[in-house]
Amino acid sequence: MRVELRGITKRFGTFTANDQISLTVEPGQIHCLLGENGAGKSTLMNVLFGLLRPDEGQILIDGEPVTFANSGEAVRRGIGMVHQHFMLVPVFSVAENVVLGFEPTKSFNRLDRLRARESIHEASQRFGLEVDPDAIVEELPVGIQQRVEILKALNHDAQLLILDEPTAVLTPQEIDALIGIMRSLKDAGKSILFISHKLREVREVSDVITVIRQGRVVGTAEPTDSETQLASLMVGRDVSLTVTKEAHEAGASRLEIRDLVVRDDRGVAVVDGVSLDVRAGEIVALAGVQGNGQTELVEALAGVRPVESGTITLDGRDITNATPREILDAGLGHVPEDRQRDGLVLSMSVADNLVLNTPRATPYARRGSRRRSEVRRNAEERIRDFDIRTESPEAPVSSLSGGNQQKVILARELSRPLKVLVAAQPTRGLDVGSIEYVHRQIVETRNAGQGVVIISSELDEVLALGDRVAVMHHGKIMGVVAPSTSRETIGLLMAGVVLEEVAGA
């Protein structure tokens, strides 16, 4: 199936998300849409999948113009989408998810589970998508859930598959498996639109690369182009892809975690006996596939999730199960994973957000009443020092870009005496320029002699920033390795192979 987008324009109010975008996907082709977060990739895909109506432009399938009132119509025309956030019902089995909406039935409308299973087996074999049809989806690892999503699209007879940032949640080995699947789909004549901002994978798998920036197509590239060329096309200027990090001597131990056990909301011990030391002047990077306990570990460190057993010691003080207030006062800075939900009060001003963690401390308040002038003075200083782009200190923080919101949080956490900084996914969703800035700040914090813990699902970031890399799997630390360790070894650790076995192999 040949799919052509011709002059697609989509506006939200005064903001133009897609501006005259044209591209063509040939049958049996893997076409990559490369662009930064916020470049308009997802908008374009939602237009193609019938979730949004374009303001201008046309979609043509095999030369024939089509319009979709909803995604059901797009599915019927052979377009399948694997969303970044999976559209799977967690409590259903694989088979139930795959057939949902297109169920085979027997008399009395009964589900024909046998036929559902058979069609899954058939597709599994044809495209190398091994999966147990009777497994419950929420019990499967993310990589397998993604296969279920792909199977679902194929079961609806998709000829064009849209994969929206499919590798964000996968281990390196799972990414390899996904690339294998993409190739076998391509061999079977399916077309694939692959959305990504990860240059390595894009170069490995694509036949054609279309680069978009700020809603416009800025060019096409060949997979043979270098990563630096692709990056500068994507960002619009030359970028350095490495973090400059001076050698730095680590000092005494600042944060000691001993046999920590933490449960998630369902009561599962997702941090299961973690012990880790963070010394002054070093960055410990926690690698691991999302959902292996990193999030809960950080929440326990920040005091927002109870510790079941084990201890956390900050500079000799036991802060296990202390309140967040006590932990902040003890000198721990926290950059939460979801900055909009946990890091900021979006409707409040930039100035107020900058003093959120010191609401009662002088000079911002006196005898229970706030001193607005001090709050404002502080805000102006921080906005200057951290180069926060905002109209005014009084503007609501929700009006800032993601990168500037993150700067507000960093400015707040870093401008008080810290012993340890804990940053979760510090660059998620940021543009390349902001990423460089955040990295620089983290390295400088470490150079200033503070201990730093970062968690990140981007392996590149972990390896670039970490002085030591601790790999988590199923709530346990599989090994602590140097950042020079091969990606393959780290990938195996992320998949749960213990360090000794990796070394032995």
């Binding site: 939602n46 979730l51 949004l52 909803n70 995604s71 059901g72 119509e73 599915v75 019927r76 989408m81 969303h83 559209m87 799977l88 019902v89 967690p90 409590v91 259903f92 139930e96 998810n97 949902l100 909406g101 297109f102 169920e103 039935t105 009395f108 409308n109 009964r110 589900l111 679902k152 609806h156 369902r266 009561g267 109870p306 510790v307 079941e308 057993s309 201890t311 003080r317 036991d318 802060i319 296990t320 199960n321 202390a322 207030r325 006590e326 932990i327 006062d329 003890a330």
Partner: protein, 432 residues
């Protein structure tokens, strides 16, 4: 600042009881209470007598069964000991499964101990007995009404809409059912009235919840309050001055030939009114529909992850409308069943059954089969609470009426097993 820091080191890790331990301790407490209140509380020589004779509506006894006589103190002590043993077993062996079943077993023993106490001889001259068959028959009647309510909840909440207006739908069904029965003396027409008014109220709730995405709890409570107030008004303005419109009668029992003659089980299960048989059919039908058919798969998908359902072309809003209206129909018929049991409409006829039914929905884990177990347990508590005044039971009837809610609080707080509502339950759905 320094004081805060000093305090930190003294913060000890909190130890919390696991939920199975809480259940174990609860059962031990319940067992101790049973042994103390009913066992030691009974005179050493008193005896308890149970009879099993079926009783007709006319009060005649068609056949006799032998009575069972037990020593009160020993029996109640034994029941208490068994409950304690169950609790100790949970604390000791920490079983992972069937916690709820163990707890339910303890509750049944507790009920039996109450009845044993109630049926004891008070003195040499005074002989007392409890007819176990009529206790079971009496417990079934509220259980039927509760099952209708909970099934209504199953239909609505499985599709992701909370129907807290069941109490109001009950009342409307009972009012209209009574009115129609008074005029036509025909329960078929009365049931039709319940269907229509239930569907109407369901449609109103659905309209607010789906069209305007208002908070479903608030919309439901307001709707229920409105209907209940309207019921009082109409009662005062219509039924009181014209009593001929409130002159219905309880629905007649339909005995199934042969099966109805089985001792104990016959009168309890096979000599009931039409609403009993209808609800049995509904339980089977909804259970089959939800878990075996395409319709059920789609409904559950809509209740769990509406976006996923929409992404494969399922009309989320339409599915929810249909289910909330169907749920209204079931609750409306439940209201007629309530009237058919009581035989007359009064403003307070629903007396909280709509809310107990919601508790049963949670207790039964949003499954038709589980809902039946909850309805039987809660129905029995309601019956005992209403009828034990006649015996000098050392438990206040108000305490017994609290039982369904106490159990539900334990269930909801996750103390007994893990209950999980449909993931999108109560969350308004917006199209992108």
């Amino acid at each position: 600042m320094t004081t805060t820091l000093a305090n930190i080191s003294e913060t000890a890790p909190r130890r919390r009881l696991q939920r199975d331990q809480v259940i174990g301790l609860l059962m031990v407490a319940l067992g101790l209470f049973t042994a103390w209140a009913f066992g030691l509380g009974a005179a050493g020589r008193s005896q308890s007598q149970f009879t099993f004779d079926p009783v007709n509506a006319s009060g005649t006894v068609p056949w006799h069964l032998g009575a069972l006589t037990l020593p009160t103190r020993v029996s109640c002590l034994l029941a208490g000991a068994l409950i304690i043993a169950g609790g100790v077993e949970i604390l000791w062996r920490r079983p992972r499964r069937a916690l709820l079943a163990r707890f339910g077993g303890g509750a049944v023993l507790f009920f039996l101990a109450i009845l044993t106490w109630a049926s004891r001889t008070h003195g040499p001259s005074q002989v007392s007995f409890v007819n176990l068959t009529s206790v079971l028959v009496g417990g079934i009647a509220p259980a039927v009404v509760l099952t209708y309510g909970s099934l209504s909840g199953v239909l609505c909440e499985r599709a992701g809409v909370v129907n807290i207006a069941i109490e109001g739908q009950f009342l409307a069904g009972a009012f209209l059912g009574s009115l129609i029965d008074s005029v036509t003396h025909n329960f078929f027409f009365a049931t039709l009235g319940g269907v229509v008014v239930g569907a109407g109220l369901g449609a109103i709730l659905a309209f607010f919840a789906l069209r305007y995405q208002s908070d479903q709890i608030i919309a439901g409570v307001v709707l229920a309050s409105l209907v209940i107030s309207l019921g009082s008004y109409l009662n005062l303005q219509v039924l009181t001055p014209y009593p001929q419109y409130n002159a219905g009668s309880p629905a007649p029992n339909l005995m199934i030939p042969l099966l109805g003659k089985i001792p104990i089980l016959g009168p309890v299960l096979f000599d009931e009114n039409g609403f009993f048989y209808l609800v049995v059919a509904l339980v089977l039908l909804i259970s089959f529909g939800l878990f075996r058919t395409r319709w059920g798969l789609r409904v559950r998908a809509v209740g769990e992850h509406p976006k996923a359902a929409a992404s494969v072309g399922i009309d989320v809003i339409r599915t929810r409308y249909v289910n909330v209206i169907l749920g209204g129909v079931v609750a409306g018929v439940g209201g007629v069943a309530l009237f058919a049991w009581q035989g007359q409409f009064q403003p307070g006829i629903t007396s909280g059954y709509g809310y107990i039914a919601l508790a049963g929905l949670i207790f039964g884990r949003w499954r038709p089969s589980g809902v039946v177990v909850a309805a039987l347990l809660f129905g029995m508590s309601v019956y005992l609470a209403n009828n034990l005044q006649t015996y000098q039971v050392p438990v206040s009837t108000s305490i017994l009426l609290m039982f369904p809610y106490v159990v539900t609080i334990f269930v909801v707080s996750g103390l007994i097993g893990r209950v999980r509502a449909p993931a999108a339950d109560g969350i308004p759905y917006k199209r992108d």
